[in-house]
Amino acid sequence: MTQAAPPAASLNTSLDTTAGTWAAVVMGGSAAQDNAFWQLFIRPARSTRWRLVTPPGTADNGGLVLVGGSGSALVTGFRPSQDLTFTPLIQTGNGGQAWSSLDPLDAALASTPDALAVNPAGGQLLALLTGGTVQASAPALPPGTRWPARRPWPPRQPASAAD
């Protein structure tokens, strides 16, 4: 008798920060709509173990979008799913041990891992929305948080024949 292979978890995003490595993983077994759920893990610097730190309180079937800051800071956006049409935002300053909500975005984040960024000059969040527009907001980020400069989004490379 052959045994079915266990479903593979799919890594969507990973971020390296001074506090460690964050990873957003897509889980769930079937292709049914809204049947996938996402989990957020952190592997603290100098540790070999991953810790589950998915932010509580919001269904994340639509996906998680991450933007990392200095130290253990991270902002997470919940892409909307089912009847939710706006984007809840939540932040941590201590590697996911405690979370606090930020004002939500009044639209759906684009389905891309880089849909959230932080303007290093002003500290505002920049959000790429599903319609292709970019919205700047000024959430109450933790005082004194330094957010790293993000590389500009690279121009999309034409797909090669091997792709």
Binding site: L40, P56, F78, P80, Q82, L84, F86, P88, D103
Partner: protein, 286 residues
């Protein structure tokens, strides 16, 4: 044990309405699928010379076959009748656009009459203004508890409230539609406002979506018997789906289970019809 503990065939001990039709269906299915025993179906091989025997055996078996076929047919027709009796009203309800309190009660059970002072609250509405229960005296208050980032039931329940306001017509001036946040994480003003825009409630004059600190909210949830808990990571908040009717004197008069049920036009507005009826009754008494 099969029946009582495991609910075998619906569980006669608790639900005769589902067990009896299931027994009928199982019997009909068995009779329809089971083959007639070979010995009865086919006579033993007989020599060609004894053809007279064959005729006699056939003649003897025929009534039994007929009887078996009749039992199968009657059971099958009975089973089809049971299915039609059960399915026809549901199909009619699915197709009907007419809201009815009977539908709401079929989904959620009858509401519970109450008579006692409603637990007080002092919270902040979606515009940032303080609202107390005492400040709503003189109006009927239809109250529920909603999670502003819920992806499924709460948006439907909010629409039931909106529809109740519409069904009340001019009487809605004497009714306040009130929801209190049922999420200890996403409880901030930005979330109640985003929810209102999502559900097109921001233009409803007698709609209040109230919030406060997690500690204050937890105290109010306890007062109204609402459980709101953080589920496993990545899940929505689990919370009780109740609605309350509070009379103009601040007395709790009715508690309703408020699960919106299956998504048909009629069922989705039937809780609204129930709320409307309750509000009209209280308004006529005051």
């Amino acid at each position: 044990m099969l029946v009582e503990d495991l609910g075998f065939l619906g569980g006669l001990g608790t639900d005769p309405n589902s067990m009896i039709p299931l027994i009928l269906l199982a019997t009909a299915g068995y009779l329809a699928l089971a083959r007639v025993p070979a010995a009865a179906a086919q006579p033993a091989t007989v020599p060609a010379a004894t053809a007279g025997w064959r005729a006699r055996v056939r003649a003897a078996i025929a009534p039994r076959r007929l009887a078996t076929a009749n039992i199968s047919s009657v059971a099958a027709v009975g089973a089809i009748g049971v299915i039609i009796l059960g399915a026809a009203p549901m199909a009619a309800a699915q197709a009907s656009p007419v809201a009815d309190t009977i539908l709401a009660q079929a989904i959620d059970g009858a509401s519970t009459p109450l008579n006692g002072p409603a637990p007080a609250f002092n919270l902040t509405d979606q515009h940032g203004h303080d609202v107390t229960l005492a400040s709503l005296r003189g109006k009927v208050v239809l109250l529920t508890f909603l999670d502003p980032v819920c992806t499924s039931d709460c948006p439907l329940e909010a629409q039931e409230f909106r529809q109740a306001g519409q069904q009340l017509g001019t009487a809605s001036r004497r009714v306040e539609l009130v929801a209190i946040v049922a999420n200890p994480v996403d409880y901030q003003l930005g979330y109640t406002q985003a929810f209102d825009r999502q559900e097109r409630l921001d233009g409803v004059p007698n709609w209040l979506f109230l919030t406060g600190s997690p500690a204050v909210l937890a105290q109010i949830w306890r007062g109204y018997g609402i459980a709101a808990q953080i589920e496993a990571a990545g899940s929505t908040i689990g919370h009780t789906e109740n609605a309350y009717v509070i009379d103009p004197h601040g007395q709790l008069r009715q508690e309703m289970n408020f699960d919106p049920g299956p998504g048909t036009t009629a069922t989705q507005s039937s809780c609204a019809a129930e709320l409307t009826d309750a509000a009209r009754r209280l308004l006529s008494q005051s």
